[in-house]
Subunit: 323 residues, 2 copies
């Protein structure tokens, strides 16, 4: 492979001068610049990025770590990547499949200097383990976490969740079931709180969170539809933790002969494509902006140039699964 020395030789200058021309830094006379440039042209030369990274101690590469690629995660990956590319970063994608060991390998990339920073969308290891890696570079997460060194782009979902609950109440629903993703998560805890507050406000009896825990996928949503079909006393609404769950529930319910919103209402969460396609009422909280903010946080940690984060807000998108 052709390198600086080759260029230097052809152009009749030293490699230091070549470097100056390439990087536009330091004084170079017009004539030498020209000579170097033609040599570069002639030999079809590009600098070796390994060498640059080694020298500079930075790779301009950020890692995205996620268990898998759901539609919601796609939105995050896409917008984060685009934002990063715009600033000259390159993005690696690391899929952990919820295996803590694989996540560790990904974190090791930060330690071994292959990555300048990490966007850890959903973690597999405990926070303490992850925290220990922040000394090698910035780590930002999509989850909610109490930590002084791991940054987060979360928004407290209390308000958003309540928005949905109140809407259901206004439309006459009194027996609402909450489909939670993981009751150990801080975000879920916020939702539970919102639900409890809601029940107290309207004097309703809440169901226990444990009853509908760990409901995350399209398939989980479909299972809920089957469960519903077997119930004597049916609820009149479902609040879900994601559009994926809502999609599974709605589509399977229709297959089983239910009509929405006549038989019951459903509200999703995320406002991704699928909710549009299936006309599911959902709560938007600008995931794409969260992704951009995640990049901005990492960028701000890595460089002097500070980017200001986007304002985030909840919006209820009313479609056809609510009255």
């Amino acid at each position: 492979m052709t390198n600086m020395k080759d260029i230097a030789k052809i152009a009749g200058v030293s490699s230091a001068t070549v470097s100056r021309v390439i990087n536009n830094n330091g004084y170079v006379s017009h004539i030498t610049r020209q000579k170097v440039e033609t040599a570069v042209e002639k030999l079809d030369y590009v600098p070796n990025s390994q060498a640059i990274s080694l020298k500079k101690g930075a790779t301009k590469t950020i890692g995205i770590i996620a268990p898998n690629i759901t539609e919601t995660i796609t939105v995050l990956v896409k917008n984060f990547t685009l934002a990063a590319q715009k600033k000259g970063y390159t993005v690696i994608l690391y899929l952990t499949e919820n295996d803590p060991k694989k996540e560790l390998s990904a974190l090791e990339l930060l330690r071994s200097k292959q990555l300048d920073g990490i966007f850890l969308i959903i973690r597999s290891n405990d926070w303490a383990t992850i925290e220990s890696y922040t000394k090698y570079g910035p780590i930002v997460t999509w989850q909610r976490v109490k930590s002084s060194c791991i940054l987060s782009v979360f928004i407290d979902q209390y308000d958003g969740y309540l928005l949905g609950l109140e809407y259901l109440y206004a439309k006459g629903c009194r027996n609402i079931i909450n489909l939670y993703s993981d009751i150990r998560r801080l975000n879920t805890k916020s939702r539970i709180k919102a639900y409890e507050y809601f029940c107290e406000k309207y004097d309703l009896t809440p169901h226990s969170p444990e009853q509908f825990n760990d409901i995350n996928s399209i398939q989980d949503g479909e299972r809920i539809a089957h469960w519903l079909a077997e119930q004597k006393i049916k609820p009149d609404a479902f609040m879900t933790s994601s559009d994926a769950v809502a999609a599974g529930l709605v589509s399977q319910a229709k297959r089983l002969g239910f009509s929405l919103p006549e038989d019951f209402s459903v509200i999703g969460f995320d406002n991704i494509e699928i909710s549009h396609l299936l006309d599911i009422t959902t709560i938007d909280y600008s995931i794409h902006k969260q992704a951009e903010n995640a990049f901005k946080m990492i960028n701000n940690d890595l460089t002097l140039q500070k980017l200001t984060p986007e304002e985030l807000a909840f919006t209820l998108i009313v479609r056809k699964t609510t009255k």
Copy 2:
């Protein structure tokens, strides 16, 4: 950052020996190995990957290039990434947004040695330009291409397409419209051929390909639904180029009051999640295996250890948008 020299000093050996221990190569006495290992432990040392890449002239990194992340591309990205990780590769994701310049930047990563190979899912530049990069490393594409140096995981879609056509005919459809993605593509040309053969076989008059060209997204599918509503003489079936198009068409048609398959039939292509959710009859051609094959091809080019590709086949998945 702590490096080999530090370890060498602590362990009282040379850095050459440290290297031998780390890489398990060459003779090292049990006692020195021990000393080195405790030093590594003590200083919490990891080798710097830039230095290794520079020395070895390879990064163990493969790039995935795509215009954006659709659901189909997600399947490719996911399975390619998983396969690559399994073999110790790391994957970078580069989104071009159909901008040839951005694609060029991505290809430059191969030239500048940041990437060992590339999976170019969908290209933006002409093949000749892309071909010129194959001298820097293997390039595999998902598209169909006639080239001696760009590899491809395509399968000729003639058979798959005919499968759908024949099924529609068997169910009584005689006025079928084909929604093509891009009539300049070789794959589309195969579909057109299948359609022409089909029409001849059953003595039907084919419509011109230009009439329904460039139909790719959910939104495009929705537009077709509106178009359909305005037609006096309506077709009785649609063959689409992707589940995304089919999904847009089906969901919008339902909103406009059509019922499927009574009013007309639709067959998708890809068999991704959305077609399951919307009960769309579709043609499966194992995209996930194609992704694995793409990785295997790159791997086989890069290493001695050869992986054997998966067999691919078309299957018609009958659901509720056909009789």
